[in-house]
């Protein structure tokens, strides 16, 4: 059994007064997320990330295709009891206190009455809002609302958590706390599916990522594989104030910073470069193959294709 499986999942909106024009929000999407994975759904704003999440949550209906969560149909109430969802820029009933809101959601999620109060207190503590439990949400900052959003998403002990831009609106401390929370969720054996356009978060947290752009899935891969690919280049860092002339002749990128020089060269020049450094009596600090970053992969996947017209959401 897989956590999420979509087969040709597609969403086309009818627009205009007569509803005769169409706008494709999601092109046929085939995606599989394994149980226990932290899966990053990457893409720029309007790429189709939120549409995909709404389709999986049953908030919008697919034009074609199917989606299954934990092996069941997405509209199955049994599935809904096992998933948690944090929408993008969440807004909650602001007339309620954080505690009342979580109690309400616990009721709707079917948390047994005896466990509700304890569970709510625990969640408030987990997201750092223990002291704000009795404060009405209208007095909460954006970051605090995001924390409440995270608390409600994991309140009922879900197996699978969907987070739409979970770092949005958080300060650096808040972002770090959310990163830690996602890691904790993974250690607890939960599957986390989160959308983001902050690549450093994805690189730090995800087992696998998918890149979506203009409603089209552009690529899926394991972060470890994507970032372990080498370019056939090496970075040599050594002590010195100038770049030896022999090294400069290779035409690579060099950079002098104080007493340290770094040079990115083609792998074929590696041995000659080391020989030059030995001859010039330069102390070698490090030599590392240049790896591809997630950012490079992402940017590459966003390159235009011939199917990108009329897409949004």
């Amino acid at each position: 059994m897989v956590a999420i499986e979509t087969t040709n999942l597609e969403k086309v909106y009818a627009i205009g007064f007569w509803r005769k024009k169409t706008r494709t929000a999601l092109r046929p999407l085939n995606l599989t997320v394994e149980i226990g994975e932290v899966f990053g759904f990457l893409g720029p704003n309007g790429a189709g990330k939120t549409t995909t999440l709404k389709l999986l949550m049953g908030l919008v209906f697919p034009t074609a295709g199917t989606a299954r969560i934990l092996g069941m149909e997405i509209d199955d109430p049994v599935v809904k009891a096992q998933i948690g969802f944090l929408p993008e820029q969440p807004y909650f009933y602001d007339y309620l206190t954080a505690k009342e809101l979580l109690e309400y959601y616990a009721q709707l999620s079917g948390v047994p009455p005896k466990e509700r109060s304890g569970r709510v207190e625990k969640m408030l503590g987990r997201v750092g809002l223990r002291d704000a439990g009795r404060v009405q949400l209208r007095k909460f900052s954006k970051g605090m609302l995001q924390r409440v959003g995270l608390a409600q998403a994991i309140l009922h002990d879900p197996k699978l958590v969907f987070l739409d831009e979970p770092m949005s609106g958080l300060d650096p401390t808040g972002r770090r706390e959310v990163r830690e929370l996602i890691q904790q969720l993974q250690h607890e054996g939960r599957t986390v599916f989160f959308s983001t356009h902050i690549l450093s978060d994805a690189e730090a947290l995800c087992d696998r990522v998918a890149v979506i752009h203009q409603g089209e899935l552009r690529g899926v891969g394991a972060v470890a594989d994507l970032t372990s690919q080498v370019h056939g280049k090496v970075e040599i860092i050594f002590a010195g104030r100038t770049v030896p002339s022999g090294l400069a002749s290779f035409g690579g990128q060099t950079h002098v910073s104080g007493d340290v020089v770094s040079a990115v060269l083609s792998e074929e020049h590696q041995d000659t470069a080391l020989e030059i450094l030995r001859r010039e009596r330069c102390r070698l600090i490090s030599l590392t193959p240049v790896r591809r970053s997630l950012e490079e992969y992402y940017v590459q996947k966003l390159q235009p294709t011939d199917v990108g017209k009329g897409v949004g959401a």
Binding site: M57, G58, K80, Y105, S109
Partner: protein, 258 residues
């Protein structure tokens, strides 16, 4: 009632209670009851008639305003503010959400009517120094008013499920006005011949019959309300509002929550 519907209904009630606009409307209703006392005092010999008429009309109008005002936003506000997303991502069916919201608003209106009714009875007590024999009649009229609210709520919910809140308010209020003229509409339909007559008859029976639910004048004059009318009106209001809520559910079930 299943527990999820009950929780949604209670939360809807809680929202309305914490909404300051609601308190203003109640204050207005109480003020109007105060005005009834004043008018009653200068209406020598017909104080009771004036107080009951004015008081119950105030309860009706303010209740309808509350029903429309809250009813049109019951679902649309949740979509607009996206509060619905975290509710429907739980084991909550869409129909349960709509029905829960409907019951929540109905409960709010019953409680409001209770408070406004207390105002009317206090005004009556102040003017005529006794409640009997009008009390039973007034209670019946209040019950019919609540039945009207039930229908207005369901219509507001129905219209707001496919149109903007502003249009939903206009449609609902228009139906409330037309519904109060439904007896005249039926009379008109009876005298018109041909296709026009058929259309008039269809419209007359399609719009809610608020005329039958308005016994304020009758009660104010001390006339008794037939027990049969209470049964018919109850069944009519329940059936009509159930149909309107079902319509709202059918539309909402298919709606994309963008």
């Amino acid at each position: 009632m299943n527990s999820r519907i009950a929780h949604i209904a209670f939360n809807t009630f809680r929202e309305a209670v914490r909404d300051r606009v609601l308190y203003n409307l109640i204050a207005f209703a109480l003020l109007l009851s105060g005005a009834a006392i004043l008018v009653g005092q200068i209406s020598i010999g017909i104080e009771r008639l004036v107080v009951v008429n004015l008081g119950l009309t105030a309860v009706t109008l303010f209740g309808v305003v509350i029903a429309i005002f809250i009813g049109i936003g019951l679902v649309s506000k949740e979509i607009e503010k996206r509060t619905l997303f975290t509710v429907l991502s739980r084991p909550v069916q869409r129909w349960e959400f709509v029905v829960g919201k409907f019951f929540g608003l109905t409960g709010t209106l019953v409680v409001n009517t209770l408070f406004m009714a207390i105002g009317v009875f206090l005004a009556l007590l102040y003017v005529v120094h006794r409640l009997e024999p009008a009390a039973v009649g007034i209670l019946t009229a209040l019950y019919f008013i609540v039945l009207q609210f039930l229908i207005v709520c369901s219509l507001a919910l129905l219209f707001s499920s496919f149109s903007s809140p502003m249009l939903a308010a206009v449609f609902t209020f228009a139906l409330f006005v037309i519904g109060n003229l439904s007896e005249d509409l039926r009379g008109f339909a009876a005298v018109v011949k041909g296709i026009g007559g058929l259309i008039a008859t269809a419209v007359a029976y399609l719009v809610p019959n608020f005329s039958a639910l308005n016994v304020i004048s009758q009660v104010a004059h001390g006339e008794a309300v037939a027990g049969r009318l209470i049964v018919y009106n109850s069944l009519y209001a329940l059936l009509y509002s159930a149909m309107a809520v079902s319509g709202a559910v059918l539309i909402f079930q298919r709606r994309n929550l963008k």
